[in-house]
Symmetry: C2
Subunit: 276 residues, 2 copies
């Protein structure tokens, strides 16, 4: 819980990162959307919550785990959808979106390998009241909601772990609510890119400017201008459908204070009580 308001991650600096070349032709996913042939092994799991489980809980849940793949833009939960499954992202980034009357879908929170999708199912909600979509291609571990809920009820450590994340997530959304009325689009853009970058595990973010504009509730043209400014400052490179982060430290300087509060410490992933 005390990690919820974490310092910026250690890798933050002002040096330019090694930037891999952008693949000009995005390779279509060859992976199946679901792997029914068995549960994942520990070394196939990158989700921090799962890696923080006690040995007992992990072994209890492992037979229930399945690896699933999402493509960017894919809807994970629609509004009103039942919570049949709970997802623990490995290397994907997901967004929780609020649907507005005019059709706009505004992002309210970002989830990656530090969290899970569908916590509400654990605390009694039967269906989603916000949308959740995949922001990037990637995999997640899924567990049937009913199974996890039953274990959750009797496992204090699991409760503490998952509800602790829920609390962190609420903090993230709170900050976003305040951010939206106080900080410029350019600042919000930097904060958002950093949040996604933290979770994506790559410098090459496959995002269109229009998508970003929708998430932030701004005009595409405003995003274009802001991105070009950042590109001039060599903080990122921009290609059709791709944004490559070049200088995290520089982006952090341009971001609003919110990033420092919203960023999550990713330092625990190797300190799993199970791995030790």
């Amino acid at each position: 819980m005390t990690t919820s308001i974490a310092l910026k991650r250690e890798s933050s600096n002002n040096y330019n990162w090694q930037v891999p070349p952008i693949p000009l032709n995005r390779t279509p996913l060859a992976k199946p959307s679901f792997n029914p042939t068995g549960f994942p092994q520990l070394n196939q799991i990158n989700n921090e919550l799962l890696l923080s489980l006690s040995k007992e809980t992990f072994l209890q849940l492992q037979p229930e785990m399945r690896t699933v793949y999402f493509e960017r833009g894919q809807t994970i939960y629609g509004i009103g959808d039942p919570f049949d499954f709970i997802y623990f992202p490995n290397n994907m980034v997901a967004s929780r979106l609020a649907l507005m009357e005019d059709g706009a879908m505004i992002e309210v929170g970002v989830v990656g390998r530090e969290g899970l999708l569908g916590v509400a199912a654990l605390i009694g909600a039967s269906s989603a009241n916000n949308m959740t979509v995949a922001e990037t291609d990637g995999s997640a571990i899924r567990i049937r909601a009913k199974v996890l809920r039953d274990i959750f009820r009797h496992d204090f450590k699991l409760q503490s772990l998952l509800l602790g994340y829920y609390h962190d997530f609420l903090t993230q959304i709170s900050q976003r609510a305040a951010c939206r009325c106080r900080h410029s689009v350019a600042q919000q853009l930097c904060t958002w890119l950093l949040q996604v970058h933290d979770r994506a595990g790559t410098n090459d973010l496959a995002l269109t400017q229009e998508t970003i504009a929708n998430r932030l509730g701004a005009r595409r043209a405003s995003i274009t201008v802001a991105i070009n400014e950042l590109e001039k400052a060599a903080l990122l490179r921009c290609k059709r459908g791709h944004i490559v982060i070049c200088n995290r430290g520089g982006l952090e300087n341009q971001a609003c204070e919110c990033y420092g509060l919203l960023s999550y410490s990713f330092e625990n992933s190797l300190q799993s009580s199970f791995i030790q």
Copy 2:
């Protein structure tokens, strides 16, 4: 849980309410800030969550309950404060605020008798990472966090009730985050006034325009103009330090869609499983 996205309350209509005269001299609170002489009786409790407890849980908790009074503006939890007590508002309205670097304190959520303050303490957080302040004078039932947490851990129905509220609260904040970047100050003002009115139990809201501006993250002058517009339309009356709601239905028409989603159904208060 299904009440989280509730229809507008039944009392919503387009008729003008009977408006009580504004007390010109606000009477200072004569009440003590804390009543140590005993626990409240059922008829002194107006909090929906407490009224929804099972008989067993209620009787178990009742000796731990104390009635406390807050004055508007009073800090209930500061940032970093320990969660010694959990509060169940009876007839007061509280705000959760995000503190910004420039000193601004922006509201992210409203809590009244439909909820509780300090849920985070139940799920393992040791200290508050947002501020909570009293928006109006009023009373709340307080319970020591440690006591409630211990009962909470073993009482599934209590868990379901309180976590269900937490889920509703997260939904409220989500909507607010989206609202802030899509709706005009005037719309947000109407939504906010309605939210406070729902919880305050009076048409006469003791609020200064400056307070409202701070909550919404807008200029005081913007609020002044918007309020005067509403007054011209006879939806409310405005006196120094007071706003009197005159026409709820009219306000709902001016409010953004968010009010419909954020409003809470207050219809359950007499359907307590205990009272039945």
